[in-house]
Symmetry: C2
Subunit: 145 residues, 2 copies
């Protein structure tokens, strides 16, 4: 139990490294945080700025500027909502989707490699455990909608 922190720290670090290295696609470079933003915009259906900033636990002003940067790179599109014109709806451009997919592919390749060292039973156990852990973390409600 004492070493759970350490193991989690290592897993987190390794997973973070992965993302860090995988953020250059074609001519475009995106930072780690930007890749997370792309990822979340892709996942959530036409989210607002707030939603993504909240999900990622970022300060909204920092987020605002990151989005500006992604718009400059033509990876993200921002349009005012019809229902409430204070809010802006985010979506990926075609190129944004392409970059997100390329990153996704690299992550999946890495995950495949990792699970390659396990047999089917281990693999399933690990995946189930991760989900359970995540669910437990959610219950304690430290963060992240």
């Amino acid at each position: 139990m004492e070493d759970v922190r350490h193991v989690l720290q290592l897993i987190t670090r390794r997973f973070g490294f992965l993302n860090k290295n995988c953020c250059s696609v074609g001519g475009v470079d995106v930072s780690l945080i930007q890749s997370h933003i792309l990822y979340e915009i892709d996942r959530q259906h036409h989210p607002s700025m707030q939603q993504i900033a909240e999900t990622l636990g970022m300060d909204i002003t920092t987020f605002s500027r990151q989005v500006q940067s992604l718009i400059r790179k033509k990876l993200v599109k921002k349009s005012p909502s019809d229902q409430d014109r204070r809010v802006y709806i985010l979506e990926l451009t075609t190129e944004g989707k392409f970059v997100a997919a390329a990153i996704e592919q690299q992550v999946q390749d890495y995950l495949t490699q990792i699970f390659f060292h396990m047999n089917e039973f281990e693999k399933e156990t690990v995946i189930r455990s991760l989900k359970l852990l995540n669910a437990s973390m959610e219950k304690t409600g430290v963060c992240c909608s």
Copy 2:
């Protein structure tokens, strides 16, 4: 399998948030990265600068300055090695140990909370799974000695 990335992303994020919030001890504030530095100096026995920077995957120059900052806060001590006077040996000061321990305590409390939602069997399975996952990640050798 497709959602493993997402689950890992969430776990990572939640675990990162935890650390982010837990870095004010007594009068002293340390950033997330600094808390990781303290943690690793504590773990490794009289490590050099390189070693910690490498472990954390940080640029050595950035690391150098972070250490300077921790020394200013009197949490870390740096002394030239006897064997090789180019290298500096790092260790925590008494206060540094105190801060590291306080952070450790907060993390452990959080982990206890998380596992509180599981029965003994689940708990053991999850811990075993995390170790297995970490070992598999290590085999693919993306990072982190």
